[in-house]
């Protein structure tokens, strides 16, 4: 049987690949994966795709702080205009 014959499950796998298969909402998919080795292999490859990209990270060792602040030094500070306070009535002195 072609995997595309299992289209319904393919789309469901795509949606639920990051969820816990033990949860009640994944029951039907879990049961299908137990019976269908092709879909199980496909599901496994989808999971591994995400894990691989998650593992591939690049760490930034330096700091761009000085460079950014140096560029900002050339600029004027941000002007903030605070809303004018309404004059509150002072209590009359007796």
């Amino acid at each position: 049987m072609k995997l595309t014959d299992h289209k319904k499950y393919l789309l469901e796998m795509c949606e639920k690949v990051d969820r816990d298969l033990e949860s009640p909402t994944c029951r039907k998919l879990r049961e299908h994966l137990e019976k269908c080795p092709d879909c199980a292999a496909y599901y496994d490859s989808l999971k591994k795709t995400i894990l691989l990209y998650r593992s591939y990270d690049v760490h930034y060792e330096g700091s761009c702080c000085e460079k950014v602040l140096a560029r900002l030094e050339l600029e004027q500070p941000i002007k903030i205009t605070l809303p004018k306070k309404s004059r509150s009535k002072r209590p009359r002195r007796s």
Binding site: L11, C14, L69
Partner: protein, 189 residues
């Protein structure tokens, strides 16, 4: 969050030391995200610096309704999109479900071998991962990286990109299918 709020208020008043503290807190996250989108260290550095410059200039418009990090994600995304549009012509790839599933018309699905974890990805595998994700149109790449790699919730991705949850899910599913199909020839046992 409160610490961010104090630093943001000070930075708004022109306190660049406070803004420096915000840069140091978020620069690794922003650089890492920019790299995962651009797949190039120099471009990632450029996108990161522009992001903090834009953020400083736009601090007045930051309402505080969303997290500061979400706001930074929005700025760095726009910078990556602008840099990408300036320099490249994206290949036309069909992203209809039917097309993506047709590529999955395998009679028997091959099993993938064990995948290496963390720091042990070798250069050959990194090159394969880079090539595959670079074929993915940027709009899909951004959703995949935010949601699946950086772990933002679907709602956060939607807020950042100003897209509905169903639109995010649709892009995410297609990106997952596409990347899996691209990696399949290299990773089967």
């Amino acid at each position: 969050m409160n610490e961010d709020k104090d630093l943001i208020n000070s930075a708004r008043a022109g306190d660049k030391i406070a803004f420096g503290k915000l840069i140091r807190k978020y620069e690794k996250t922003i650089y890492s995200f920019a790299f995962k989108i651009c797949r190039d260290k120099e471009k990632a550095e450029e996108a990161m610096q522009e992001t903090f410059i834009n953020a400083y200039r736009g601090l007045k418009s930051f309402s505080g309704k969303s997290k500061f990090s979400t706001w930074l994600y929005r700025i760095v995304t726009n910078n990556c999109l602008m840099m990408h549009r300036k320099k490249s012509h994206e290949p036309l790839i069909s992203f209809e479900d039917s097309e993506l599933l047709r590529e999955t018309g395998e009679l028997e699905v091959p099993h993938w071998g064990e995948t290496p974890h963390d720091a042990v990805l070798n250069n050959e595998l990194k090159e394969i991962l880079d090539k595959a994700i670079q074929k993915l149109p940027l709009e899909y790449r951004i959703v995949f990286v935010m949601r699946d790699v950086d772990g933002l919730s679907t709602e956060e991705v939607g807020n950042t990109l100003k897209l509905s949850v169903p639109a995010i899910k649709s892009r995410l599913h297609r990106a997952r299918l596409f990347l899996r199909n691209e990696l399949n020839p290299y990773l089967t046992k």
